[in-house]
Structure formats: C-alpha cells, structure tokens
C-alpha cells in the first residue's frame, strides 16, 4: 500500500456514503410528517431513490442535506395528494378517544399530527430540521412570506392543542 494513492470515489460510492449517514434522520423526519414508521420507511427509500437518480445535480446544491429534505418533503406531499381523501377519513375514524379527553395530555407529535400536512411540514423543517425560512420556502415552492404566516398560524394552533405546562415553550 505504500505510495498508493486513494482512488477517487465513484458517484455511487459518494451517494452511498451520504445516504448511509443521513438515512436515519430522513426517516425520523418522514415519521414526524406521517406518524407511521412503515410509511416513513417507504417515503425515505423513495426519496433516496430520487436522490440517487439526480445525484449529479444534487451534489451541486449549496446544502445537500436540505436538498435531500426537500426531496423527502415533496415525496410526502405527493403521497398525501394521491391518497388524501382516504387518509382523511381514516384519521377521523381511528382517532384515539384519549386524545379527546381533557385530562390526558396531548403530545407534541399528536398535536403536529393535527396540523394540515403542509403546515406540519413547515413546523418540522423550521424547528426540527432547523431550516431557514428561505430554505423551507424553496422546499415547498412558496414565497417566504407564506412560510412566515403559516408558521405563526401553526404555532397558535399548537398552543391551543397542547397542555398548559407546555405552553411556556411557545412564550415569545
């Protein structure tokens, strides 16, 4: 090995390295968006496949992680769009009774799950993935002003849903 020069990584190897390092986090984001680990797994795999196919363009992005998050978000929203009617009915029918009970505390994930998909995505990307307003606007392909207003509205909604002891988190 002495004197050997490391061979440059192929594109597939570069992708595999990035994907292995970020797959777990992407799946967690997907779970927060859809609240179903199996669906999160499928969404993540689909997003990684799309990223693999567009890898040459992806590596030119300023923030590759944000680029991957954007693909995941688009995959999630596409999935929601295709199955929106059935999922809406399903959610209402299977809403656990305890969530309606005032004595029981609603978790943050539960509260997020009650937001519309796009608003949920904004909160997750802004406060969990720590993306900027501009990056979220780019991912959702909406103006930055829409992201700001939707963020405010979503925080108000979360305040209404969460227990009193959690409201301190939203004290601005």
């Amino acid at each position: 090995m002495t004197g050997d020069v490391l061979a440059p990584m192929t594109e597939d190897e570069e992708f595999a390295e990035f994907a292995n390092a970020h797959a777990e986090r992407l799946r967690t984001t997907a779970f927060m968006l859809c609240r179903d680990w199996h669906l999160a797994q499928d969404l993540t795999q689909t997003a990684l496949t799309k990223l693999f196919l567009s890898w040459r363009r992806a590596v030119l992005a300023d923030n590759l992680t944000a680029y991957a998050q954007k693909i995941l978000l688009r995959t999630f929203l596409d999935h929601r769009r295709r199955r929106s009617s059935s999922e809406t009915v399903h959610a209402v029918l299977h809403e656990p009774a305890y969530r309606e009970s005032p004595e029981l505390r609603l978790t943050m994930l539960d509260a997020l799950g009650r937001l519309p998909a796009r608003d949920r995505a904004i909160i997750i990307l802004r406060y969990f993935e720590d993306l900027s307003v501009e990056q979220v606007a780019d991912a959702l392909e909406v103006p930055a002003g829409v992201v700001k207003s939707q963020t405010r509205r979503s925080l108000v909604k979360l305040r209404e849903l969460l227990a009193a002891d959690q409201l301190t988190l939203f004290a601005v």
Binding site: D12, F15, A16, A19, N20, A23, E24, R27, T28, F31, M32, W37, H38, A40, Q41, T44, Q45, T46, L48, T49, L51, F52, L53, T107, M108, L109, R126, Y127, F128, D130, Q166, T168, L169, F170, A171, V172
Partner: protein, 261 residues
Amino acid sequence: MTEELRALLRSELDAERPPPIGDIVGAAMAAGRRARRVRRQRRVALGAGLVAVLVLAGLLLRDEATPSRAHVPVVADGTGIDPHVSMPSLSPETVPMMTSAPTGSPRERTVTSHDGTARAGGEQKKATSAAMLQLLTELVRPAKTGEYGVSAGDDLSVRLFVDSGAGAGMLAVTVGRGGAGTLTVDVAHTPGDCSRTTTVTADRPDGVRVRLDIASCPAGGALTAGQGVAVVSDPRWGFTMDAGLVDAGARRFPVVPVAGR
C-alpha cells in the same frame, strides 16, 4: 423557543421504538439502477422509433418527388415496358389483388364445381392467351406491366413483366391439366433460379392446374408468395374463361409475340 421545541420533539421521538432501518440505502440504489435501465431502454426505443419514422418519411418524400409523367398506354405488341410510362409506386404488399370474379355482371349465373368451389359466373368461351394476359394484368393492377409473351405451342401459357414500384420481375402463368378431388395450393421456392424463384401451383377439383412462376430478377420480384396464391386462386382461370375477358383480351392483345422461353 426553537431549542425548547426541538428538545420536546426529540424527547418524544426518543420514546418511539422505530423498526430496524435495514439496508434502505442498498434498496434505494437498486431501485434507482432499475429506473435508470428503464429510462435507457425507453430512450433507445424512442430513438429507434424516431429513426423508423424518419426513414418512412424519407421514403414517402422520395416517392412523392418522383416526377409525374403522362400516362401512355402500353401497346400490345410485346415490345416491352415503355420507360416513360409512369405507374403508381406500390410495394408488392400493396398491389391489390382481385380474388373473385367481378360483381355486377349483367349475365351472372352460377356454376357448381365438384366440391362446391365457386367459379366465375357469366358466359364462357374457350380460353385464349390474350384473355389470360387480360386477366393477369387485371389481377396485378395498378402495377406497371409489359413484355407480354405467349408460349410457342398450344399451351395456355403467358408471361409478362410487372413493375410494382418496389419490385419488378417476370410472371408466367400456365393453365393445364392437374389433380382433381380437392383444391390444393402449393408454394415452392427455387433460390438458385431467379427466373422462377417462387412457383405457386393451384390444383382445382375440376381438373384445372394453374401455375404461376414469379421471377426475382431483375429487381426482387413483383409479387410475394401470398400475392401469388391470390393470383392462382382466382376462379376465372380455366380452359374456358369469361366471355368478357376473352373479348377484352382479343381487343387489347390482338397480336402477342411468342416468348423465347
């Protein structure tokens, strides 16, 4: 606020028990490679289709670009094809074939053959070489024809040159005695003899044998074997023929040179 919200989300996520992630990256890469293959195959198929369309368009444009000349009737003196005669360019596959007697004849009658195979209706006359040429030119219409010839003996045998546009070559039809009982059509190929590369023979129940020799020279042949089958299957061939054909042949081909076969 951001940190607290993030911490709350993390604490809730830590309480989750996610299933093992498995080889999600490997699966994504395999799916991506499959998608690439499909894309590549589609591109190749699209390219091939595009090339085919371009070739077809080129052929059509070439045909359309052929200068149109005045139609000069082919004289029946057997002097050959007039090079100035312009006929529609048709591939052998598109040469229309008449597989039955013309309808609407004012003197229709029904002739029953031994096995019920229908023959042409109408008044019959003794077959002539001119009537055979008349029928053959009708069957290969609208292809260009010429170089008409008949056999030296009393045989009912004629030949002519046919140019369908896409292919050209001699055709020879002989009517004679053959097998009886059932209708059979035989197609034989003689690759070494371009003057009769394909021979199609029909043996009819009424004892009539119709043989068609299709030459593949000089330009690949004017008819396909299938078109040859349609020619020999025409019920108007026989030792007697429709009077209209005999009369029309006599007018169109009053003198036909003996072919040097």
